[in-house]
Symmetry: C2
């Protein structure tokens, strides 16, 4: 089935005909404003539309959202694995990153967007460098993103001044784009890389400009021990003192949060982004305490981290891994059941970033995906949610819509060959430059 | 690209043109005996062949082998999840299994074979019921399999006699098939479900008839504690006393093996099948001690377990999970690096089951797969092995050959629609029968 190419261009009313939703077959009408106009068994008869997509009884789900990644690190996919954290960073990752250009970040982010669209992800929370290039890539790819510059001052006032200027530059650039799918956030990297002054400056800018906050928190035991030793306080308390914990905050990892910190996250309305693959691959030593966060009432969402430490951006694999890791870590097979794992990548993730999707209802943004049912991972179909979480890879997604625009249909994504070639070229150029100077 | 349908029928000399092997582009010639006749940059010029497959620079790997599954349990995929082990078995799985028919097992095994071919798996080690039906499914699907009947006597002499007869029946039936890709094994379920007499009978039959042994071992702490309480000995010692540990033995799970048991497995030349997804989903409480088994020199291979506890049979996901779980469980990111994870699913798995593949060399069986490179999971291609283990799902496989026969090409598998329909029908019939009687 080769899709009508107009499907990828139109924003006029669109019909998804005959898709599976809660064990019923329904039509979904999408208005030209990119929101869901109608859902129902005969919605296709009662509404006008310019284009129709045949749903073939495929499973309709909300588009997934990745709440923590460094998108352009796709260029480093498979460049170095299976190493201790410090030599991995110091000998392999940082030397390569030192040669990154704005053009590399553009191509790496395009590749990340391609991978996300191909695996049913419609939006993401990004932190990296050359973020104006990332913004251009997201704009062209048609996804949603909250973009932050990774602010690292290492307690050096001169460096801090530079980080502030770059952060403000990104916020202004994103404002000028006026793309409703793209927002800026402050990105104080972590308590061990940003001074108290830097953290406070980020919090202040976020408050003034109404921005999200994207930060790493309690990823390793060392981070916690060092913070306690230096300040007498644990990392979440340090973020809170700086004014960085609030409903717009997404804190990644959270492996070493204690019970009091879990309650603090809940009280502030902050989101913890669970990144199971990265935590396991880098052997952080403890799983994010999902049961404690759930008891406390904190919002938990899902993330992949960057492709250098995962090594992919497929949230389907990450949903399965989250459900498996949480059961294993707390020796309880009832922890994080499939519907909750799906919510981590949909409802909670959209809410954490203010994307507005994550549920399927009239008026909600048409951030939607379809999953193939004529495939082993969806056969039998005792439970569409169980199959989505435990059995299907992102490759089972046939169709991805973001804000009503068709980004993939019948697994075809316009421009994918150019993106793959551009990213492969950028990656080999990056490695060549790094080798030439070492 | 729609493949020439003759590709699926021919066993005459076949050329794989222009595939990627160790960063070189080579041709592979496959003789009409199903083995590799030549490999080299110009092998296509120097040899005659009847059909050619264009390799498009795709990554060539050995076909994967799944060393522990219950194939027909695909019919139960997603039927029950996220429960404690005992209610999961007693309230959901066993009541459904009580209604299984030979026809169900045929369709469930066909579905499993379809899923395996689609994800690059060319052979598997199976244990279930109605195994003559499983044998027919494997024969028709074209894979390799070692098939065992799950022998459970619960120390009841009458039941033991029945299990012995069924086991002998399977061994005779497989012998009559005379299919070189299919072998029989004895399948004593585990030390907690089979009497000492039953274990010894299985060992004796295996010795007499030259069969493999397929058993569960040290999956849970309860299994170990109960064995010690009842007999004063741990499960591996009980298997050894019965004569069940040898080079043809595959023992699944092994989560709770202690150091002495790891050394015993190595001394006997037995294989431990690592099943990370199942162990995590059922929260066995401990990861298989890969570092200790490796130190002892024991062979470790990979398995998915049945689809009721995984819920898929994609060994690509399982390779990633094994590498991640081992790092996390032992707090060391250098444990089970990507090349070892690949070996668990290829070299070690073929060797454990005597399939003869797992490496790519002249004279070896042409059990081969090709991975798409024009796809995000293989872009960039810094390391084909890292990408295969950490980034690509089984859906990245374009082509699967077993014993020189093309089972999938350009992701097309002849007869897949009939298999999906047959399996879906069997699954819903099974659920209806179970509901009708409760």
């Amino acid at each position: 089935m080769t899709p009508d190419t107009e499907i990828f261009e139109t924003r006029s009313p669109l019909l998804l005909r005959g898709v599976r939703r809660d064990n019923r077959i329904v039509d979904v009408v999408i208005g030209d404003d990119g929101t869901i106009a109608a859902i129902g068994e005969n919605a296709g008869h009662d509404h006008e539309y310019d284009h129709a997509i045949e749903g073939h009884g495929r499973v309709l789900l909300p588009g997934l959202v990745n709440t923590h990644t460094h998108a352009a690190m796709t260029l480093l996919r498979g460049y170095a694995d299976d190493m201790l954290l410090q030599p991995w960073l110091a000998e392999r990752i940082w030397p390569l990153e030192a040669h990154l250009t704005a053009d590399d970040v553009y191509w790496g982010t395009r590749l990340a967007c391609l991978e996300m669209v191909a695996t049913g992800t419609v939006g993401f929370n990004d932190m990296y460098f050359f973020m104006e290039s990332a913004a251009r890539a997201v704009d062209e790819a048609g996804l949603r993103a909250q973009l932050s510059y990774g602010f690292i001052d290492l307690s050096d006032p001169e460096k801090r001044e530079h980080e502030c200027r770059v952060t403000e530059g990104l916020v202004d650039a994103v404002a000028r784009m006026a793309n409703p799918r793209i927002s800026a956030a402050v990105g104080p990297h972590a308590v061990y890389t940003v001074s108290a002054e830097g953290l406070r400056w980020c919090a202040e800018l976020a408050r003034e400009r109404g921005l999200g906050v994207h930060v790493h928190l309690a990823e390793t035991g060392t981070e916690v021990a060092d913070a306690v030793k230096a300040t007498g306080r644990r990392p979440a308390a340090l973020l809170d003192e700086a004014g960085l914990l609030g409903p717009r905050t997404v804190a990644a990892h959270g492996c070493w949060l204690d019970d009091a910190e879990c309650r603090l996250m809940a009280e502030r309305g902050a989101t913890v982004s669970h990144n199971p693959a990265s935590n396991m691959k880098l052997a952080t030593g403890r799983a994010m305490p999902y049961p404690a966060l759930r008891r406390a009432g904190a919002r938990v969402a899902l993330g992949t981290d960057g492709a250098a430490s995962n090594n992919g951006l497929d949230l389907f694999g990450e949903m399965k891994l989250a459900a498996l890791l949480q059961k294993f870590a707390w020796s309880d097979p009832t922890v994080l059941p499939a519907p909750e794992a799906l919510a981590l990548a949909t409802e909670h993730a959209h809410a954490a970033l203010g994307f507005g999707g994550g549920h399927i209802a009239v008026g909600a943004p048409a951030d939607l995906i379809l999953l193939e049912t004529r495939t082993p991972c969806n056969t039998p179909l005792h439970s569409a949610v169980s199959n989505a979480v435990y059995a299907c890879p992102g490759a089972a997604v046939t169709t991805t819509l973001c804000a009503g625009r068709v980004l993939m249909h019948e697994r075809i994504i316009p421009g994918s060959d150019e993106t793959l070639a551009g990213a492969a070229g950028a990656a080999s150029g990056l490695v060549s430059r790094a080798r030439g100077e070492t």
